[in-house]
């Protein structure tokens, strides 16, 4: 058993703060329990690990309250509710298991804060499927990386260090020769794509909302069609033709995109143009998708929801069995149309993820550092998984799940403990 009162440097810490789940950090703890990232951090992990968490009491109607009273108060709200909505869901596997248990009991609807982007991918999966890969494959095989409409690193800071510019690889590749193409988007910071020898990535920018045209054109070219237009959304057709050729000769190309960043109507069709391009390429060579994500537990909670209920989130237990509707059961829609009557908002990793503005009675279970524009009816600060208590998180690729550890002494309960207590008190 660790003695959390002692100062210490913990090695090989798994960082829960983005979908890469780097597991090589050194985190130092002083006698007061403050954490400092030593080796292998990034700016994001430093912000998140080193954020102080003042010992904080729950609040009932804005007043300090005991945990017991806050739990009883939450149970009271939920007992009276007809259509509770449990949203945010910034948590890990064990927390999500408790969420699904409570939702089943209450007949609640569940949704995640990043569903808007996540659903763009999921709609494609459920319509046509896809071919994807995982981080260790990318690290050892990618020879052509096509990055679509994102810089990657603002979501996943160590992406290039971990899986693109790694020095050693398994199959004799000179990783410094890997080709990077940024396709679409504007004013994207492409410095992370510069090779160790200074070679610059290719950048083919376009206005973000014109990405659909570019993705459709690339798919057509890879399928062997000819385009009459000389340019697509400002990108020369010849440049896209060249890219299509490179994709066909590459041995293991990888496409990556952030569905969250594709903020235009029917972005799922753009995702589908990418994934269908990959399918075509695989008729003759190998190519894979690597959709970005995993932050705030979005991959983890959808995994848990799928095995517990059969469906990802945007699922309602209201009729006694799970029902899934990626449009109808969105947080925004349920709140806007007045279909939910209590909001339970969960964000255990990020204090910045506060609930949407609403007149609904609101219970927040979250990071103790949360600051609200609008004080919720009940606020129960809970521990940060991977700092205050153990847990399990899935990485962005949905395959590797890693344990996250406790790093310091904490008086904060875990989300799972609070939810179980609320369920008991019903």
């Amino acid at each position: 058993m660790d003695d959390f009162a002692q100062a210490s440097a913990v090695e090989n810490v798994t960082c829960p703060f983005c979908g890469l789940l780097c597991d090589d950090l050194t985190v130092e703890r002083d006698t007061a329990g403050a954490l400092r990232v030593g080796k292998n951090g990034c700016s994001r992990s430093i912000t998140f690990f080193e954020r102080g968490t003042p010992p904080l009491l729950p609040r009932l109607g804005g007043e300090d309250a005991s945990l017991q009273d806050a739990i009883a108060g939450a149970a009271e709200f939920l007992r009276r509710a007809h259509h509770p909505l449990i949203a945010g869901l910034g948590t890990e596997v064990q927390g999500m298991r408790a969420v699904t248990s409570l939702a089943d009991k209450l007949g609640a609807t569940i949704d995640h804060m990043h569903s808007k982007g996540f659903m763009r991918n999921l709609l494609v999966v459920q319509n046509s499927g896809w071919l994807t890969t995982t981080l260790t494959e990318v690290r050892n095989r990618v020879d052509l990386l096509v990055i679509i409409g994102t810089d990657v690193v603002s979501l996943l800071p160590r992406f290039f260090e971990r899986v693109v510019w790694n020095r050693d690889s398994l199959f004799g590749q000179d990783t410094a020769q890997r080709e990077i193409v940024y396709l679409g988007g504007q004013n994207i910071d492409t410095t992370a794509g510069i090779a160790p020898d200074g070679r610059k990535p290719e950048v083919l920018p376009c206005e973000p909302e014109r990405l659909p045209e570019v993705a459709a054109a690339l798919r057509a070219l890879v399928a062997g069609k000819k385009l009459a237009a000389t340019e697509i959304a400002g990108i020369a057709t010849t440049a896209l033709e060249k890219l299509a050729e490179r994709l066909k000769t590459a041995r293991y190309s990888v496409f990556t995109w952030s569905a969250r960043a594709m903020d235009f109507p029917h972005a799922e069709l753009t995702v589908q143009n990418i994934t269908e391009t990959i399918k075509i390429l695989n008729q003759t060579t190998r190519s894979s998708g690597l959709p970005l994500g995993g932050n705030d537990g979005d991959v983890s909670i959808n995994q848990v929801s799928a095995w517990i209920s059969g469906y990802p989130v945007r699922t309602s237990y209201g009729s006694g069995h799970p029902e899934y509707d990626p449009y109808h059961f969105s947080t925004d829609r349920l709140i806007d149309r007045g279909e939910a009557d209590v909001l339970v908002w969960i964000s255990t990793f990020d204090p910045g993820r506060i609930p949407p503005a609403t007149n609904l009675p609101t219970i927040v279970l979250g990071h103790p550092g949360m600051k609200f524009d609008q004080e919720p009816d009940i606020f129960i600060p809970v521990g940060v998984p991977g700092m205050d208590h153990r847990g399990v998180l899935f990485r962005m690729d949905g395959v590797v799940a890693l344990p996250i550890d406790r790093l310091r002494s904490s008086t904060l309960p875990s989300l799972g403990e609070v939810l179980a207590a609320i369920e008991q008190a019903l």
Binding site: D23, V125, S128, L131, L402, P403
Partner: protein
């Protein structure tokens, strides 16, 4: 707590008991000989006229892990057809081809099953498999971990590493993933697909490592044997679904030099190329080979007509077959220089020649393999059909009239290509008890399950003898799990959580140095973080690991 199960007709093949009327006593979850002097019987069940067997064991069923959850996510339309409401006792979920974990546990128990083994645990995805199995109530669980397409093993093989070093690595993987055995899927082929090879026959070389599936199979079969792991190497052969693959399968049997081998879903690997359509039954040749080779066992992977989903580690084959997807959507994945997966929904139709013949081939194998201790009842859930169709399958085996009636309705050309109607065999209750209980437990290495002898765990199923075997096996009167009544009249009456079985073969831990360095240099996780510990499995507050004995490490055999 002492239970008495009085006067049932008992089928307990592990002890040669074939329909004998007897009493069974259960104290604190275990079967005992008789009450102690003056010991009070707390509860008695009158089982006069009832059929009593050990709880059934599904030795190959895809119930947990990445590809199963992908299948769930892929098919909301299928779930909508089988919603499961929550009750006072049980939680909500969904059923049919890729049921939720909760529904999976309830429904297995309601069919009299008390254990199920996930046959395709990927080392780098083992944590997910155990999380899902941990959320599968009532039944016991366990997994076979996949090797033979992972870079480290292929690298060791290519470097002609000493068998002892390989054994150490294999044992390390078993420990790290809390597994019951080793499975190999399309040996070397999943890896070859990553190098853009599209087929890999038994003696064809993987383009990068220059090793053949035959070498992979032999080395792993030997490792499993020498480590004393009770479950033989579990083999999903090369060339799944390819007409003519019967030759590959026969060569596979011959290729392991007598080491124990379990061939899974062998129906999918028993195809010839005769006839106008160049697709024929290899069942007779396969059955003959199994009958002759006592070191070989198989489960059938029977297909049954209707919608299902195929979920496999074999993405090389799944990609090849993706054109048949119904509905038209599918997923393939390369995984961590370790494995792969492919999920393709599929609808088997009795008026489709190939599907109809697949159905007949599976049944031919069941009926032509003579020794029920070496052939096992599976649909390779959900690949051939969902597990909920087992009672129907049992009736097909036990009832010739029923079988022939269905046979007469399948595609006429398939009827012409099959000898099924000429096979008179009907399985007896004793034989069913062997293949679903005693034999399965012995094969998996569950020393205290699958039988009703003194000291066994009291996993017991009680049926009403009914000539309609489908009805009988669909709805047991009672199911006891570790001595607790969990099902009455085919409905869950108590939710327990079962346990996870694993083996712990001895090995030289010195191997960890090499493995750790390998992970540090090439992978994106640390070796230590790959490990699933017993504590991790117990962390949900209800599951725990039961360690089943290995017979002890053998000296090198050659």
């Amino acid at each position: 707590m002492l239970l008495k199960l009085t006067g049932g007709t008992v089928y307990d093949p592990a002890h040669g008991i074939d329909g004998q009327v007897m009493d069974i006593y259960v104290r604190d979850g275990r079967i005992v000989d008789r009450p102690r002097e003056g010991e009070r019987i707390d509860q008695e069940y009158d089982l006069t006229g009832k059929v009593v067997m050990a709880g059934a064991i599904d030795m190959h069923t895809h119930i947990g892990g990445g590809k199963v959850n992908i299948a769930r996510t892929l098919l909301p339309e299928d779930h909508r057809g089988d919603p499961v409401d929550h009750t006072e006792l049980t939680r909500a979920g969904c059923g049919h081809v890729a049921p939720s974990t909760l529904t999976t546990g309830y429904r297995y128990a309601e069919m009299g099953y008390t254990a199920g083994f996930e046959p395709a645990v990927l080392p780098l995805n083992a944590r997910q498999a155990h999380l899902e199995m941990g959320d599968t109530p009532i039944i016991d669980k366990g997994g076979y971990v996949m090797l033979g397409n992972d870079d480290l093993f292929l690298r060791m093989l290519a470097a002609q590493k000493d068998q002892n070093a390989i054994n150490d690595y294999v044992a390390w993987i078993i420990h790290a993933t809390q597994a019951m055995g080793i499975k190999v899927v399309n040996a070397g082929g999943i890896s070859a697909f990553k190098f853009n090879q599209r087929m890999l026959d038994l003696d064809e070389k993987n383009a990068y490592y220059q090793v053949t599936p035959r070498q992979v199979l032999k080395t792993l079969a030997r490792a499993v044997y020498e480590l004393g792991v009770p479950h033989p190497l579990h083999v999903h052969g090369n060339n799944l679904g390819v007409p003519g693959n019967v030759e590959t399968t026969l060569n596979t049997i011959a290729g392991v030099e007598g080491y124990p081998l379990h061939l899974t879903h062998i129906q999918f690997h028993s195809y010839g190329t005769e006839g106008d359509r160049k697709f024929s039954s290899g069942a007779a040749r396969i059955a003959e080979a199994i009958n002759r080779n006592k070191h070989v066992s198989a489960d059938v992977g029977q297909i049954l007509f209707g919608q299902t989903v195929t979920a496999s580690g074999d993405n090389m084959s799944q990609f090849r077959n993706a054109g048949h997807a119904h509905p038209d959507k599918w997923i393939c994945m390369d995984i961590e220089c370790d494995a792969g997966c492919g999920v393709v929904p599929f609808k088997y139709k009795d008026q489709n020649f190939v599907n109809a013949l697949q159905w007949a081939i599976g049944l031919e194998i069941f009926l032509l393999v003579e020794d029920p201790w070496r052939i096992f009842l599976t649909t390779d859930h959900p690949n051939g059909a969902p597990f909920t169709s087992y009672p129907h399958l049992i009736r097909l085996l036990m009832d010739k009239t029923f079988r022939n009636e269905i046979f007469s309705r399948i595609h006429p050309d398939a009827q012409k290509m099959s000898t099924l109607a000429s096979i008179d065999r009907e399985y007896s209750l004793y034989e069913i008890a062997i293949m679903t209980r005693a034999g399965a437990a012995r094969l998996v290495g569950l020393h205290d399950r699958g039988h009703l002898g003194v000291g066994a765990a009291a996993d017991i199923t009680v049926y009403t003898d009914d000539p309609d075997r489908e009805k009988m096996f669909a709805k047991p009167d009672y199911v006891f799990k570790d001595g607790e009544l969990v099902v009455r009249n085919g409905k869950v009456v108590k939710v327990t959580w079962g346990a996870t079985h694993a083996v712990k073969p001895e090995f030289d831990r010195g191997i960890e140095k090499e493995i750790a360095k390998y992970f540090d240099t090439y992978h994106t996780v640390k070796m230590d973080h790959v490990k699933v510990t017993e504590q991790h499995i117990a962390e949900d507050g209800r599951n725990h690991v039961i360690v089943q004995a290995c017979k002890g490490r053998r000296e090198r055999t050659a």
